[in-house]
C-alpha cells in the first residue's frame, strides 16, 4: 500500500462539523444515527487512500457507534442528581472545544499573513562583519536532533519494504500537468488515463489523486468544485496567480 499522510485531512471532528453545518443541525441535538451512517461511508473511502489517517477516523467511528447504541437503550444512564445523561454530551463538548481552536488557528493565520508582509533584513548577520563559523542557537530538542543525525550516519543497513504501485506519484504529477496544459479538465477524465477505453486501476486513480493533492498544495494546480457532484475540475495555476485566489474554489457560477 502506498502510504502517505494527507496533511490536508482535517480529521474526524472536522468532518463531523462539516456534516453539522451542511445540514444546519443543532449541535446540541445531533441526529447520531444519520451522521454515523454518513461518517462510515466516508471512512470506507478514506481507508483506500490513507491508512494512517483512517485509523483516527475509525476510532471516532467506534465512538459514534457506541453513542448510537446508548441512545437506543430504554434506560439511559443517570448522573448523581438523577438526570439523564445525554450520551452525546462528551462528543458535543469536544466538538465545541475543537471549534474554538479552529477559530484561534484562523486568528493566528491572520497574524502570520500580516507578518509575512513585513520584511526584515534577511542576512543582517552576514552584513555586520565577518563571523568565522556559522553557529547555532540551541534548545533541548536540538540535542536530540543532532544525536539522531549522528546516529543515522553510523552505518546500519536500512531496509525498506514497500510494495510499489506500477505508477509513481512523480509520473502521475507529470500526467496531470500534461493533461491540464490546454485548460480546465475533469478529474474523472484525467483519472481514466485520458482516452476512453484505456484500462485503469484503483492504483492508478489513487496515485493520480495523491499527485493531485501534492500539486494543489504546491499551488501548481487548482481544483474547482460545483460542476457536478461526482466530479471536479482541475486547472493549472498560471504564473503570477499563485497564492492570490484560493487554490481550491467552490465556484457555483461556473
Amino acid at each position: 500500500m502506498y502510504r502517505v499522510r494527507l496533511d490536508q485531512f482535517e480529521g474526524p471532528l472536522d468532518l463531523l462539523l462539516f456534516f453539522i453545518r451542511r445540514d444546519e443541525l443543532d449541535v446540541f441535538d445531533i441526529p447520531i444515527a444519520q451522521i454515523t451512517d454518513e461518517y462510515l461511508s466516508y471512512v470506507s473511502v478514506l481507508e483506500q487512500v490513507d491508512l494512517d489517517a483512517a485509523a483516527d477516523f475509525i476510532y471516532m467511528a467506534s465512538i459514534l457507534i457506541s453513542i448510537k447504541a446508548k441512545m437506543l437503550l430504554p434506560r439511559p444512564d443517570l448522573d448523581e442528581d438523577g438526570h439523564e445523561i445525554d450520551p452525546r454530551r462528551e462528543l458535543v463538548d469536544r466538538l465545541l472545544a475543537y471549534m474554538r481552536y479552529k477559530e484561534a488557528a484562523l486568528h493566528l493565520e491572520v497574524l502570520h499573513e500580516d507578518r509575512r508582509r513585513q520584511y526584515v533584513r534577511s542576512t543582517a548577520e552576514r552584513d555586520r562583519f565577518e563571523i568565522e563559523s556559522v553557529e547555532y542557537r540551541v534548545s533541548l530538542f536540538d540535542l536530540v536532533k543532532v544525536l539522531k543525525d549522528v546516529l543515522s550516519e553510523t552505518p546500519e543497513p536500512a531496509r525498506h519494504e514497500v510494495d510499489r504501485y506500477e505508477y509513481s506519484v512523480e509520473e502521475q504529477r507529470a500526467h496531470l500537468l500534461a493533461a491540464v496544459t490546454s485548460g480546465l479538465r475533469s478529474f474523472r477524465e484525467i483519472a481514466r488515463g485520458g482516452s476512453p477505453g484505456t484500462a485503469t486501476s484503483k492504483a492508478f486513480v489513487i496515485v493520480t489523486f495523491l499527485a493531485l493533492l501534492d500539486l494543489v498544495q504546491q499551488q501548481q494546480l487548482r481544483v474547482r468544485l460545483g460542476m457536478s457532484p461526482e466530479d471536479f475540475d482541475v486547472e493549472m495555476v498560471r504564473a503570477g496567480e499563485a497564492g492570490s485566489p484560493l487554490p481550491l474554489r467552490d465556484d457555483p457560477d461556473e
Binding site: Q8, M99, Y101, V110, L111, E230, L246, D250
Partner: protein, 230 residues
C-alpha cells in the same frame, strides 16, 4: 529638524536593531549603551527612543519601522510596501502553513505546556507529523516533562514563533472566544460556514485566505465516484 546626533542612545538602538537578525530586548540595549558610553540608561529610555525613531521614520516616509516582537525590537518594512517586496523576492504563498499545522500550533500556543496526547485529543487525530514539522520549524519546542503517568514530554511555543507571527509576547495572543460567545454570536452560522467550508472562506475579507488545502469532503467526492468505476 532635531539634532539626532545629540542622542547616542537613539543611534545605538537604531544601529543594533538594524544589524540584528533577531529581536533585541530593551534591557539589552540599555545595558549595551551603559557599557559602551558609561552612561546609564533605563528600559523606559530605550522605549521612548524607539517611539521617537518610529515617529521620525513615519514623518520621513521611511520604508521600515521598528516593531516589538518576541519581547524585543526588530526592524521590518511597512505592510503597504509588501507588493513591491513580494514582486522583487518572488515570494509565493506556497509556503503557508497548512491548516493542520496551524491548528496544532494554535492548540499548543493556547494550552501550553501541553502534551502530545492532549493535542491529539483536541484535534481528534494523531499529531505526530504536525508536531514534528512544528519542531523542525522551531515554532514549538520541548519544555520538559509532565508529572503525569508515563512522564510525557510537554511542548510549548518558542520565541521564533512569536517573532514569525509578529506577536510581542504570549500575553498578546488574541484570546480564543468562549464557547457560549461562539454559539450566541448571531454570525455563528456564517462563522461556522467560514470555518468549515471552502466557499465561506473565499469572501470573508477579514480572514486570511486559507492555506492551500482540500477539505475532506472534496476528497471523498472525487474518490467515491472514481472508485466506483475502478
Amino acid at each position: 529638524m532635531e539634532d539626532a546626533f545629540r542622542s547616542p542612545l537613539r543611534r545605538t538602538i537604531e544601529a543594533i536593531v538594524f544589524a540584528s537578525d533577531e529581536p533585541v530586548t530593551a534591557s539589552a540595549l540599555a545595558k549595551l549603551h551603559a557599557h559602551v558610553f558609561g552612561d546609564p540608561a533605563s528600559k523606559e529610555d530605550v522605549e521612548s527612543e524607539v517611539a521617537t525613531l518610529n515617529r521620525e521614520y513615519q514623518d520621513a516616509g521611511r520604508a521600515f519601522r521598528i516593531r516589538s516582537w518576541a519581547e524585543g525590537y526588530r526592524m521590518a518594512t511597512v505592510q503597504e510596501l509588501a507588493p513591491v517586496l513580494h514582486a522583487h523576492f518572488q515570494r509565493t504563498d506556497s509556503k503557508r502553513l497548512s491548516r493542520s499545522l496551524m491548528e496544532t500550533l494554535a492548540i499548543i500556543a493556547y494550552r501550553q505546556p501541553v502534551t502530545k496526547p492532549e493535542v491529539d485529543h483536541v484535534r481528534g487525530v494523531n499529531s505526530d507529523y504536525a508536531l514534528r514539522k512544528l519542531l523542525d520549524a522551531d515554532f514549538v519546542t520541548i519544555l520538559g516533562r509532565s508529572d503525569a503517568v508515563g512522564r510525557p514530554l510537554v511542548y510549548g511555543t518558542t520565541d521564533a514563533f512569536l517573532e514569525r507571527f509578529g506577536i510581542r509576547a504570549l500575553d498578546d495572543l488574541p484570546k480564543p472566544r468562549e464557547i457560549e460567545e461562539l454559539l450566541n454570536d448571531p454570525a455563528f452560522n456564517t462563522e461556522r460556514a467560514a470555518l468549515l467550508s471552502a466557499d465561506g472562506l473565499a469572501d470573508t475579507s477579514e480572514q486570511a485566505p486559507r492555506p492551500g488545502g482540500m477539505p475532506p469532503f472534496a476528497v471523498a467526492d472525487g474518490i467515491v465516484s472514481e472508485s466506483d468505476d475502478a
